[in-house]
Symmetry: C2
Subunit: 635 residues, 2 copies
């Protein structure tokens, strides 16, 4: 029998690149639908949106009594008030709905039950200890982007959001063929000349750990036709095939000949020790990899050449560190009464990790999905100052964090859309967006805690958006403004407009819900109110703040308010009517060097893509005349 | 309904300690037997020993021809030799057995086939490119200690060593009970006042990820008797029970009352935010944990209180870092032709990680089980000097490495025994022993690359063991010698002594196999040969080296040699006869501060334990008069 000649042995990275290029679109993930309760460890193939809000209704955040806030006015230590059961209060437990006329909760610890009724010693402002509908999850909101590996917390949040089935990447089936005349099964008694077959069992375990489904075949003796038949059968029944061994240059190493006959061999021999005799081939449009027989070589060949192919099928990224150090982006105060776990979002800006605390309520399950980790404040520590370095226990992968574009500023649903598109674009690229309003975002950008800031700040002097704010916050620096979208802002009202609202002039006679201070929407409202000669103090609910467009829409949809201001897409998503008030410019501010980041290049490419525009059209209420234009803002 | 009063809220660590103490022996791991091919991720409950050696026979390490070494003498570039097929050589592939009269392999690349026979241009010394029987795994050798989590590579090595079933810790069954009148299943349509039940599904996933088997029950409404009945049923069917929620102080929080009736509550309320309302209890001798209802609280309560109980059942240690930096303990040379993966053993001596390269052959699967990780030498690097810091990709847990007693020096089977006992002693404590002979070990100790050195070096001047060697290697330092065992050394011969060997005087007429230079056994042999007036050059095989007692015994058992010198236990393990030659002192050298390490205290306690002595008695050939005595060796 002729011995084989190796093709040139290739460096590891080169061999990997050649092979991946050769496999091309033949290896691409397929999607399948699974139950959420069976989805642990699987990877989403498309974004997942909440079906229901959580909580589903206004609910008690504490055990205690539900009261009518106006009826508690004047209660104090000096003049306690006695409330009548059923009329002035009802006893409620955490999670119970708060129904009209009740609108606030007093904690059990702060009440005293007597024969004549319940005594309280402080008044309760409206909405005290009440979780408004959608506080945690808003119906229609994106819960997970695509390419996300399902963790236990995700299972919980998906179900809370009314999602019971999701689409995930299918697990590739991997055929494993042990070959060799001298090979015997482990359960037989070996004789001289026998080698116990153990590699295929190691491969089964390695494939399982990396998200594949192994399918091991019986041992095939060193016979050309038998091997050929076995490989063809395995190719028919699987997404990829591993052959062990016969990948070397011995007299009975048929693998490479078989693969040349039935397919194409791209690499035979890799400059790796141990593990040189690797065969990387394709047959019937599927990957076939010949693995050497020595166990250590076999292990390394699987790690270097089978895992990358599996990752293409499964969308999985390899795990690594569990703990990192990060700079805290704002002050964090805790109590000496307990150890506190604060969920944080982590990004890498320049050479440091930056972590921003998220919602701290125990009910905010979505905050754990959004979080990249926990910052633990020990019981004996009162908190940390902004700029202090803290330890973060990661829930996400460090690789994901390193490839994250940190976006801090104003909220718009288009960020969810781009975030999803980015996750699908390239392995591991992510958009992390934190919503603290336009002005807060520009200040975070100033401190080096964000890559980009979405902003829509109106200069009331000249009617121009964003430029003058950037100039005044970055007086000595050249900055860049990437034009985003034109966005129609308007009043969101119940379907059919039962209260006959026509414009901002009607806000004085309805219950309003506002955005938080610094939000561009609020600046626009103030501008419009000033033009109309209306004082904020005349508006019921001007001080009721919600932090996103969707949260405002959810309150109107839930009947907690009659009207709020926001973008068309949010109104549309929640089935509300919409009265346009004006169009504003929603852009992205950043430092010039940020344009060089691969994540930013990806963001920019997607911003200008047809896919993105189609999605905006679907949402409605956007114009895209200048989208993607780059404006240099000189000091 | 009465509200509950919390017991004092306790700091997290205190609550954990109180609970673990209270659970005591009620929570302890049970063992079960599983097939090796189903054992991935399980944890061994006892040490596992090889049934067969690997390779099972002397076998070719390369593709090429098997030759008779003596018949190749004289071959050179200038005067090539032509060998006759069948008579002077046979063609072999890697792994083929090398049978008599053949005793060496010439690589295919170094031969040239012609009409008249095979031309060779260099002689082949005996055993060139031959893997001797047991080179990778020796029958009877310990493959895994107890408390080891099975990885893919372990599956392969166990099967290679003839092991098809192993004992592992049983996976605890965890009953999960969702409670609450307001709770509905995710597949129902929620109404106002409903809360979608999602926590129990998150718990299922968390329990699975941590080695438990979840058993989720139907939702139980807030009714005292129903909850009581449900908990009792779950206790009957599981090893532990989680109840969610009702752990707080609301009017319908019955959990704590039920648990007080049917068992004992140790903690109610923990100083942790979120996650305060935790109940830690025991009923029917099993742990019952009440978990708060808010999802984030629930997650943290499981992490802090359920996981530690699961770890007691499963023997699992939490994972962490995957990469570390370590100081290389000896020079490592590689080629520019490839990227090389060198398996290393890692330990922490004082404040640094030390890594020692292990066997580099691709066939040495056991070296991957023993290894703590890989040091990768890139293709463009020629190697590293001793003392250089290198990157190590971990296969073991960093926690294991940090709690490892690094033992470098002479080999004895008692190290396997202590290693196994240490693994069972306390979570994560390990003995890592590297076998480089007594003298090599003392030099590693000198360089700060080992904690302790097992040594049995005879001072031929005064007949004393070890002391004078330590003094000369550590001239300026006070050292400590912990007395080990008296060890009978002798000649290992085939059963029935067919060659009639009586003592060292007969070594000149048989095929001998020796230990490596610097090994105490070899020093003793040289001493005895000198006394008997025998020159080493008169002994056939004096230069054939094996590095452990078992490897010597395996060669005699396999018929490769007629006689070797070693300890009784190795002869006994391989079914050989044994002729005592002398008793030597096998002790442990170290610096005084090493005695303070918890791992060393554990080692010392076990060295003096009844369990250890019983095991030595079983092996035979040891005396323990001075075992554990501590001798200060002053400069």
């Amino acid at each position: 029998m002729k011995r084989n000649l190796y093709l040139t042995t290739r460096p590891v990275e080169e061999a990997q690149a050649i092979y991946m290029e050769a496999l091309g679109d033949d290896v691409s993930p397929k999607a399948e639908t699974v139950k959420v309760i069976d989805a642990l460890g699987r990877v989403t193939s498309e974004a997942v949106y909440a079906k229901y809000s959580s909580p589903l209704y206004n609910s008690a955040a504490m055990d205690g009594i539900a009261v009518i806030s106006s009826a508690t006015e004047g209660a104090s230590e000096a003049s306690p008030l006695t409330l009548k059961a059923g009329e002035d209060y009802v006893v409620i437990d955490t999670g119970d709905p708060i129904k009209k006329p009740f609108d606030a909760v007093i904690m059990a610890e702060d009440t005293q039950e007597t024969e004549g009724g319940m005594i309280i010693r402080a008044s309760a402002p409206a909405w005290q200890h009440v979780r408004p509908v959608g506080e945690d999850i808003v119906a229609g909101e994106m819960i997970l982007t695509r390419c996300h590996k399902i963790r236990p917390i995700d299972v919980g949040v998906l179900l809370s959001g009314g999602v019971t089935e999701i689409k995930v990447f299918a697990q590739p089936k991997v055929g494993i063929i042990p070959t060799g005349t001298e090979i015997v099964e482990p359960y037989e008694d070996p004789k001289e000349g026998d080698i116990i077959e153990s590699n295929s069992r190691m491969f089964e375990a390695m494939v399982s750990e990396h998200g594949g489904v192994p399918c091991r075949y019986d041992i095939i003796p060193d016979d050309y036709e038998s091997i050929k038949a076995g490989v063809l059968k395995a190719l028919d029944e699987n997404d990829m095939v591993i052959i062990n061994a016969g990948s070397s240059a011995g007299t009975e190493d048929y693998t490479v000949h078989v693969l040349r006959e039935i397919g194409e061999v791209f690499v035979h021999g890799v400059a790796m020790k141990p593990g040189k005799p690797v065969i990387l081939a394709k047959a019937c449009g599927k990957p076939v990899i010949g693995i050497p027989g020595y166990p250590v070589s076999a292990y390394l060949a699987v790690e270097n050449f089978v895992y990358p192919v599996l990752r293409r099928y499964t969308g999985l990224i390899d795990s690594s560190e569990k703990y990192i150090k990060a700079v805290l982006s704002r002050r964090l105060v805790s109590s000496l009464k307990h150890r506190e776990y604060v969920r944080v979002r982590v990004g890498r800006v320049d050479d440091r990790y930056v972590c921003a605390p998220l919602a701290r309520g125990a009910g905010a399950a979505m905050s754990m999905v959004r979080a990249d980790g926990f910052c633990v404040i020990p019981q004996e520590v009162e908190g940390y100052e902004a700029g202090e370095t803290v330890d973060v226990t990661l829930l996400s992968q460090a690789e994901e964090i390193n490839r994250t574009l940190v976006c801090t500023g104003s909220h718009d649903m288009l960020l969810d859309v781009i975030s999803d598109l980015m996750s699908g674009e390239s392995e591991g690229i992510r958009l992390s967006s934190t919503h603290i309003g336009s002005l807060g975002g520009l200040m975070a950008l100033q401190r080096g805690e964000a890559h980009i800031t979405p902003t829509h700040l109106l200069d009331e002097e000249n009617g121009e958006y964003n430029i003058s704010y950037i100039r005044s916050l970055f007086p000595d620096e050249e900055m860049v403004l990437v034009k985003g979208v034109g966005r129609v802002q308007g009043l969101m009202i119940a379907p059919g407009n039962p209260l006959g609202i026509k414009g901002v002039e009607d806000l004085t006679r309805v219950r309003f819900v506002n955005r938080q201070r610094g939000a561009g929407t609020r600046v626009l409202l103030d501008y419009k109110l000033k033009q109309a000669g209306i004082s904020p103090s005349d508006i019921d609910g001007y001080d009721a703040e919600a932090t996103t467009h969707l949260a405002v829409a959810a309150q109107v949809a839930g009947g907690e308010a009659d009207c709020g201001m926001g973008v068309y897409s949010a109104a549309h998503a929640m089935g509300l009517d919409f009265i346009p008030v004006g169009e504003e410019e929603y852009d992205f501010a950043m430092r010039p060097k940020t344009l060089e980041l691969p994540e930013m290049k990806c963001f920019l490419r997607l911003l200008k893509s047809d896919e993105f525009r189609a999605e905006l059209d679907r949402l409605g209420g956007y114009t895209t005349d200048k989208t993607g234009e780059i404006i240099r803002v000189l000091p």
